[in-house]
Symmetry: C2
Subunit: 285 residues, 2 copies
């Protein structure tokens, strides 16, 4: 099978589980890349990294309703499974698990996984049901597709913290691998939601990354006061319609810091027109 032959498309949990258990019983290691489809170069990079580190790669394509709020974009979220399959084939993916909503949440489904403090602030405050939906679907996918390692992008920083907390707290036997954010040539973090931006908004959206670069420069010349850094970032973000938060967090956690005194994630969320975008960077030693 050449690397670009199409990955096997499976739609039921029983099928994907059987495929993965068979491979594991042959001693193969499995990498899992959970996605909501509408794939971009960030997803492709996760699949390529997984393929480099594991014998087999399964990507899941499922627009998970439980992680969208009632006013959010579940219905208009972009979906194009044939295009996704072609991209996954090119990246060397072995299986695509693309279940229906009924397969994942049959009538009567009623259990949710709640991660506590790590899910409460920042994204969690703006999207109060989001991380319970994420933790629940990720745990379900880990059970249906029992991989050795699962790959997530660092762009969704709080998601990486929540998933790691859930895996640790519930003793889920899987390693979580966090991969670098992939960016457009002008620095905008890859996101399926970038497709919502008008050309003007697309230009304004570069302010998120530019504000993070400005923060990195300040830290590089010795600035450690987060309020000074925040003010500089806000001055870069003038073209953005609404900055929802700029957070300074101990790396690996969701704990706020007052000063840059060690590895620190600067994470922000902003609305550009009607589109919500997030980005982050790591600063400090």
């Amino acid at each position: 099978m050449s690397e670009t032959s199409s990955p096997l498309l499976l739609s039921t949990g029983a099928e994907i589980r059987a495929a993965i258990l068979a491979a594991r019983s042959n001693g193969e290691t499995i990498g899992l890349v959970p996605t909501m489809g509408a794939l971009h170069a960030g997803h492709v990079s996760l699949v390529r990294t997984a393929k480099a580190e594991c014998d087999r790669v399964v990507a899941t394509v499922f627009v998970n309703p439980t992680q969208f709020g009632p006013q959010e974009d579940f219905n208009r979220y972009p979906r194009d499974l044939e295009r996704d399959r072609a991209l996954l084939a090119e990246a060397g993916c072995d299986w695509v698990f693309a279940p229906s909503t009924d397969e994942m949440y049959p009538l009567g489904s009623d259990t949710m996984v709640h991660v506590g403090a790590a899910a409460a602030e920042w994204e969690g405050r703006i999207r109060p049901t989001h991380f319970a939906g994420v933790a629940t679907v990720v745990l379900k996918l880990f059970n249906l597709a029992p991989a050795n390692r699962a790959y997530f992008g660092r762009k969704d920083y709080q998601q990486t913290v929540v998933v790691r907390q859930m895996v640790s707290d519930l003793n889920v036997p899987i390693d979580i691998v966090i991969c670098p954010t992939v960016r457009e040539p002008d620095g905008l973090a890859m996101s399926s939601r970038n497709a919502y931006l008008s050309p003007t908004e697309r230009q304004h959206a570069t302010a998120l990354r530019r504000s993070l670069l400005a923060a990195e420069e300040l830290v590089a010349i010795g600035e450690s006061d987060v309020e000074v850094i925040r003010a500089r970032m806000e001055s870069v973000l003038v073209d953005v319609d609404h900055v929802q938060y700029i957070a300074f967090l101990r790396d690996g956690a969701m704990e706020s810091v007052d000063r840059i005194a060690g590895p620190t994630v600067i994470a922000l969320a902003a609305k550009v027109g009607a589109t919500r975008l997030i980005d982050n960077t790591l600063v400090g030693d």
Copy 2:
């Protein structure tokens, strides 16, 4: 190793997981019996059933703090690991997993599994945090001790419904086996909490089972009106200090019924002195 040699006692998740994965990779099937210790003939029966159906049996002994409410009996819950080990040895148990609280809930643990409607009423109304604690610890144990089958007693009827719902909703790869309630010669359901009863309370406690037998008799002669049955049960329960509920539920679910028109669980909870007891029976065709 003779059947009555002591089972291997393990206290870390890493140890029990390694032991079980090694056995499974040898093609052995594993039965899991989660307990809070203070073992009685009901637990022993679960272990014997597991041993009859599986190659190896692991029993867990852990008084789970997250399933006790703040006013409940966590601190005085009976604990006697040496006696438990001896009983488990006699029943043919292979491993005893008896972790510390810190092993199960290290500092910073913050994730809870919430099962919805199945956990809300009856026991859930009286013990509002109970089933989240049960679902969370059971899921953790299933991940730490990945058995083929897990065994629960039917006495804790709502717990069996909640665990099954959690396993189904989260796609946990384990079969749940429900075993019959084991009773004292006078009919009292075996429970570690029976040890709290004074001799007089111990006598009064038989009213729970007697009320269920009275209900069975009414159904056997054709009575289907749950209010008639409830009135008869209450007349039997005169010596009980406080009947907390008598529930008529579609078998396998927590859905109330008005008439006995199919397999129906009659479940009750009552206080005898300061001790809370539960019991249930299955009636209807």
